[in-house]
């Protein structure tokens, strides 16, 4: 954090640019439930996202206006924030978002436009291998830790391992604690994984048969 240890990352941008970036990130996060960026951007967007959920939980006219100021697509997101998301996090005392580190993309390309020249052709550049992360809304439909824990448990049960190690047990607790019918949902996810692994080709014709019989 440049210049005398500020309390936030400056992300190499001036204030207005940074603000716009964070608003963009948060808008995408609430729209898609999960985004992948660099780790530093994810951590900064996480601060803002958590505050926005708190606004949603307050559910007052003032908080609605504060939230309206942040989003770039307020008309689609504000009803979501003050509706399903508020209900989802009603019991949870903070920690509505999660940042998970992932491998940087190998062949990600971005376009850089040279400054000052309006007619310049955007330049193709390879990814800089910056440490990347997934920022996600906890307990949502795209909860990566939930999916990963389900995968782990399915993998273990295939091998007949009953004992959970410390980390897996902790993850199970994290993933099911405030989720509605958490353990049930997790068991469903595990059984679905087992089905898809054992025979996805067998399952498909059955579905088609059912559709045919309906007609």
């Amino acid at each position: 954090m440049a210049g005398g240890g500020g309390k936030y990352r400056h992300l190499g941008r001036k204030s207005s640019h940074r603000q716009a970036l964070l608003r963009n990130l948060v808008t995408s996060l609430f729209e898609n439930e999960s985004i992948t960026t660099t780790w530093a951007k994810a951590k900064e967007a996480q601060r803002l996202a958590d505050k926005l959920i708190t606004l949603g939980k307050k559910n007052s006219e003032a908080s609605r206006r504060r939230a309206l100021e942040i989003f770039y697509k307020p008309h689609s997101i504000i009803p979501k924030l003050f509706g399903p998301l508020r209900e989802r996090y009603a019991e949870r005392p903070g920690g509505y978002t999660r940042v998970l580190r992932v491998e940087p993309k190998q062949k990600y390309e971005f376009y850089s436009v040279p400054k000052g020249n309006k007619n310049a052709v955007p330049e193709r550049k390879p990814h800089d291998q910056a440490p990347s992360a997934i920022l996600e809304l906890v307990d949502g439909p795209k909860d990566m830790r939930f999916a990963m824990t389900a995968r782990t448990l399915a993998h273990q049960r295939e091998r007949g391992i009953q004992h959970l190690n410390q980390l897996t047990a902790l993850n199970v607790r994290k993933v099911t604690r405030f989720r509605k019918d958490g353990i049930e949902v997790l068991e469903n996810a595990i059984s679905k994984l087992k089905i898809s692994k054992s025979g996805p080709k067998k399952a498909e014709p059955e579905v088609k048969k059912v559709e045919a019989s309906k007609e």
Binding site: V102, E103, I134, P141, M144, A147, M148, R151, T152, H155
Partner: protein, 109 residues
């Protein structure tokens, strides 16, 4: 260059009273050794330690990048979801890819 060749001359006449026209010689740095005037031509070429050749780009880069080679990745462990090797504290790229694909297929279905 003209001043440098003048300096041994000035030292050869140390006893002369210092007038205005010699003041430039006095202002010169006092590092150089007294050399007889006959050798003054050699002074330029022989006695100074200077690199003979320009250091090439390759040499320079090699020198400056010494000790900055890529390090081996030591922090590895097994992915609990698929059993493949992955980097510690990072999600397994195979599992992440699989999970994302399953979400995509859910959305389209």
């Amino acid at each position: 260059m003209a001043m440098a060749s003048l300096s041994p001359l000035a030292r050869a006449l140390p006893q002369l009273p210092r007038f205005g026209f010699l003041s430039t010689a006095i202002a010169l740095p006092a590092i150089s050794i007294t050399v007889p005037p006959i050798l003054s031509d050699l002074w330029e070429s022989v006695l100074r330690a200077v690199p003979k050749k320009k250091t090439s780009h390759m040499k320079k880069r090699h020198r400056q990048m010494a000790g900055k080679a890529l390090k081996d990745v030591q922090g590895l462990n097994k992915c609990p979801g698929c059993g493949q090797v992955k980097r510690a504290h990072l999600l397994c790229p195979n599992c992440v890819k699989d999970i994302k694909e399953s979400w995509k297929s859910l959305q389209t279905a």
